[in-house]
Amino acid sequence: MPERERALQSLQSTPRDVGPTADDLLTLVARGDEAAFERLYDVVSGSVFGLIRRVVRDQAQSEEVFQEVMLEVWRTATRFDAERGSANAWILTLTHRRAVDRVRSAQAATHREDRAARLDPGRPFDEVSEQVDGKLEQRQVRRCLSFLTDLQRESVLLAYYQGYSYPEVASLLGIPLGTVKTRMRDGLIRLRDCMGVTG
């Protein structure tokens, strides 16, 4: 891949992106365009793999899930509806679901208790905060996260980056189920407004 394209790729999440967007590419992929899929791979593989790695952790399993997800993007691109959201959101939503599925099925196979017992409730959030630091996109996310209440932030991040179900999050934080549901929703709404996300 040419140097210039690689540079563009690293900028892909900024609004000033040049060249075909993930949306353009995914629309072409839906028509069976393999060259477009190759370019789409270069545009989205970093965030897809990064998210899987973050949730699944294990390198070998992450690589497996990554290949499954990228193939699913190819296979189901025909079902992408640009009117219902961006290609990036569609792909990362799919990615997150597959990563969480992997974590949950692995969890069902081992002892639930073990995993919960190893967790110190204070730790995951600090770790996540460190992770969400660095580049431009990350700085914006971090800035917006700082506008959330502690409970909102921890509810959203524990579910999203650790792949916990809301009853698991409620148990970790020691708050009722109903509370964790509303904190997740309120937290995401606050993030949405801060980031200026439209559906």
Binding site: G46, A77, G85, V156, L177
Partner: protein, 239 residues
């Protein structure tokens, strides 16, 4: 329905970060189909969550690129959806059926909230639920509802072409100790048991409807009876 819709609505956040169980996810997605404002909110919150995903970017090992592209070259893509042409009669039905789907969703979600640990029961509910939405999609699906003096409501979806019906009760009080609810199919040939009904559980699936005129719910001694021994608390004509 007002409070239950509101309850479902608060799940938009948990749904967007995949924090629901499979059962709740299915129930919530059924609700989404008929709730425009929920769909909009879910789309926005999912896009917001995706930004959290984009923030933890990390390149995959380079050798995976060729592997993925080669696999794609050998994989057939799924066929695109074709929009269905709906006629007015079907559309009118859709309103009522949607209400029933919503009711089913509420039943499943309520049970899930109370009993998150009972995985086997949930798996069963999940399969009953998909059976329900499947039945709702048959062209001759009929929706029938009834009310009991104690405030419980019953909803039945009947499909003659499938020879199948689903019955579900909402706000059904717990029966007294040693008692149970039992569902009956009543026709010219008499009554036939359609199984016990546990308050707050998923829909009852009933097959073999030939000759059935009414569906009735009675209170029976624990374990159920051969024939109804009390006056029905609820009775609905299905013809």
């Amino acid at each position: 329905m007002r409070t239950t819709s509101a309850d479902l609505h608060t799940l938009t956040g948990a749904y967007a970060v995949n924090a629901l169980s499979d059962t709740e996810r299915a129930a919530f997605e059924a609700h989404l189909g008929g709730c425009g404002s929920c769909s909009q909110e879910v789309a926005e919150l999912a896009a917001t969550a995706a930004r959290l995903g984009a923030a933890v970017e990390s390149p995959p090992p380079p050798q995976l690129r060729a592997r993925v592209l080669a696999a794609a070259a050998e994989t057939r893509q799924v066929s695109p959806h074709v929009p269905k042409i709906a006629d007015r009669r079907r559309l009118r039905w859709a309103g009522g059926l949607l209400a029933a789907a919503c009711l089913a969703a509420v039943v499943v979600v309520t049970v899930q909230n109370v009993e998150t640990s009972d995985e086997r029961r949930l798996a069963q509910l999940s399969s009953e639920y998909s059976r329900f939405s499947d039945l709702l999609s048959t062209p001759d699906a009929k929706l029938i509802s009834g009310t009991a003096p104690n405030g419980a409501t019953g909803t039945a979806v009947v499909s003659a072409s499938r020879d199948e019906a689903l019955f579900l009760a909402k706000n059904l009080p717990q029966p007294a100790d040693g008692k149970t609810y039992q569902l009956w199919l009543i026709g010219a040939d008499g009554e036939r048991s359609a199984g016990l009904v546990v308050p707050g559980s998923g829909p009852s699936v009933v097959t073999g409807l030939a000759g059935t005129e009414r569906v009735a719910l009675t209170v029976e001694p624990a374990g159920g009876s051969e024939k109804p021994t009390t006056v029905p608390v609820m009775s609905m004509s299905i013809v």
